[in-house]
């Protein structure tokens, strides 16, 4: 059963085609990874799906409904929560207040939102820092806050943009474990990731983008051995630099 279906997704900035006719689906209850070299168009895809950027062409279908062209807040209301590659905490507010903003989407009163926010923070291990200022957190905690804000909106699809970037292996494993638990509880996850160890361990389906196009889709084993995927990361043969003897 597909939760998210993207068809012919295209984004053209004057002169540059960032995403070109990309098709893929995300199965309900799965963890799907979107990978590819830098500049492949992965974050642009996220922006197109979550409504942060307008599609030049193509469509996005979420749970059977066409959501092409909705605003970010509408996408969130429908159940798509996304995090940002460079974390964006609400700096002048505390950790708890940051998450309350997200919780207010689903809760009627501020008190109920605070309870919900506290529960989310405890779940992912940031409970102790609830009253700290969001700007005073270290990077791994900022990543967790980014995750908590998204979770507080009770999403059906969680889209994570390079949540592991900059984390030490133990920290990354910690978050990966949280993601596995959330997925076991029924949350569908789509993640952009460069940390291959995590991708291979956690993702059931992998979609590979290169220069804005989809070049492969499949399970971890299949992708790891796909010649096109290997070529886009390593090239074919050794590159020669200008001015050096080949």
């Amino acid at each position: 059963m597909s939760l998210l279906r993207v068809q012919g997704l295209t984004k053209v900035y004057s002169g540059l085609t960032a995403v070109s006719a990309v098709d893929f689906t995300v199965q309900r209850g799965s963890i799907t990874a979107l990978i590819g070299p830098n500049g492949a168009g992965k974050t642009t895809c996220f922006n197109l799906i979550a409504g942060a950027t307008r599609c030049t062409a193509g469509s996005v279908t979420f749970d059977g409904q066409d959501i092409t062209g909705v605003t970010p807040e509408q996408a969130c209301e429908r159940g798509i929560a996304r995090t940002f590659q460079i974390v964006r905490p609400l700096a002048g507010m505390s950790v708890l207040e940051n998450v309350v903003v997200g919780a207010l989407l689903r809760e009627r009163s501020v008190a109920a939102a605070e309870r919900q926010a506290m529960a989310v923070l405890e779940r992912i291990g940031l409970g102790a820092k609830a009253h700290a200022s969001a700007s005073a957190l270290a990077l791994p905690e900022r990543k967790l806050l980014e995750l908590a804000k998204a979770l507080a909106t009770r999403p059906r699809l969680l889209m994570l943009d390079e949540v592991m970037a900059g984390l030490r292996p133990t920290e990354a494993d910690g978050i990966a474990q949280v993601l596995r638990e959330l997925n076991a509880d029924g949350l569908t996850i789509l993640l952009i990731e460069h940390v291959m160890r995590v991708v291979m361990a956690v993702a059931q389906t992998i979609v590979v983008l290169h220069h804005g196009e989809k070049i492969a889709q499949g399970g971890p084993e299949q992708i790891a051995n796909d010649p096109n995927v290997i070529a886009c990361y390593f090239g074919t043969g050794l590159p020669t630099l200008q001015g050096t003897p080949s």
Binding site: A50, P89, A113, K149, T153
Partner: protein, 324 residues
């Protein structure tokens, strides 16, 4: 629920202020009434700037609109001044929503939005200058007070009357802001102020929330404009709609502290007596524009020594909650 310390401070302050007329003379009362007036507008402007993070440099639009609404109702239509207050609020709110909707709908942000607000204020000034029904450049005058004037009916009276009237207005606006800021909308405003795109990604209806801030801010400002008309008794488009007024309205909250509940009040208490003093000195020694030099010097000092305004360090000293 209001924070206990904040609430306690507010109540104590209110009690003290109620007792003041017993010990000071009419001149001081009239200065204080204006302090309360500007503190109220400052609070209203602060709602939009300090909480929702939207810079308006044209709040004179709403101030003047409220003033003229009251002036026209009382002068031309012989309507009770009490009716003028909600009309002034509505006039301001509609204008605020209009300017806000226009700006935010087309993603006009930051300084560009500020320029838009200036443009609208200037537009109003020029329109009213040529509006003969409202007296145009010659001004609009409220009917002179008769000896049997009832302040509670006409909403015009002596210094003590205006002192209490404006104190009540300030208290009500302060209370409204305090309640709003603690609620759902307050969270949304602060989220939009900190990072609008991040807020939208977690479901905050940013445009709606900004328009609401603009409308409420403008509505409260309109009411204050109405009181200004009642106090002054005469209105000139150049003074109520002009750029000078827009700046006068915002100096107090900036100096007092943006995004706080007591900042605008403190700012008004600091600025306006200084204003009066500067006016006196300027007259004594024939220096014109002294007020502006004082403003500039104050702003410089604030930027250098207390960029968040005068209130936050004071609040820390009194140990009242953090920046909200």
């Amino acid at each position: 629920m209001l924070e206990i310390r904040s609430a306690r401070l507010a109540v104590v302050l209110l009690a003290v202020l109620c007792a003041v007329p017993l010990v000071v003379d009419d001149f001081v009362l009239s200065v204080l009434a204006l302090v309360f007036l500007f503190a109220s507008v400052g609070q209203a402007w602060n709602l939009m700037m300090g909480y929702a993070g939207q810079l308006s440099l044209g709040h004179a639009l709403h101030f003047g609109a409220g003033a003229y609404a009251m002036g026209l109702l009382v002068n031309k239509l012989a309507v009770s001044a009490w009716f003028g207050l909600p009309v002034a609020f509505a006039t301001g709110a509609v204008l605020g929503a209009l300017v806000g909707a226009l700006g935010f709908r087309f993603a006009v942000r930051g300084v560009y939005f500020a320029l838009l607000t200036i443009a609208f204020a200037e537009l109003a000034r020029i329109l009213v200058e040529h509006w003969t029904f409202a007296g145009g450049n010659g001004g609009l005058f409220l009917p002179a007070l008769t000896p049997d004037n009832q302040p509670l009916l006409s909403l015009r009276g002596g210094a003590a009357f205006f002192y209490y009237a404006l104190l009540a207005t300030l208290a009500l606006i302060w209370l409204a802001c305090a309640l709003l800021v603690r609620g759902r909308i307050g969270y949304y405003w602060r989220a939009v102020r900190e990072d609008e795109d991040a807020a939208r990604a977690i479901g905050v209806p940013a445009t709606r929330v900004k328009v609401l801030a603009a409308a409420l801010s403008a509505g409260f400002t309109g009411v204050c404009g109405a009181w200004y008309a009642l106090i002054q008794g005469s209105l000139f488009p150049d003074s109520v709609f002009g750029m000078r007024m827009s700046i006068d309205l915002i100096i107090a909250p900036i100096i007092g502290g943006l995004g706080t509940l007591f900042g605008p009040i403190l700012g008004a208490i600091v600025i306006h007596p200084l204003n009066e003093l500067a006016k006196d000195i300027a007259q004594e020694f024939s220096i014109s524009g002294l007020k502006l030099i004082v403003y500039g010097a104050l702003l410089l000092m604030i930027v250098l020594f207390a960029p968040q305004g005068v209130w936050p360090p004071l609040a820390r000293w009194l140990r009242i909650g953090g920046r909200k």
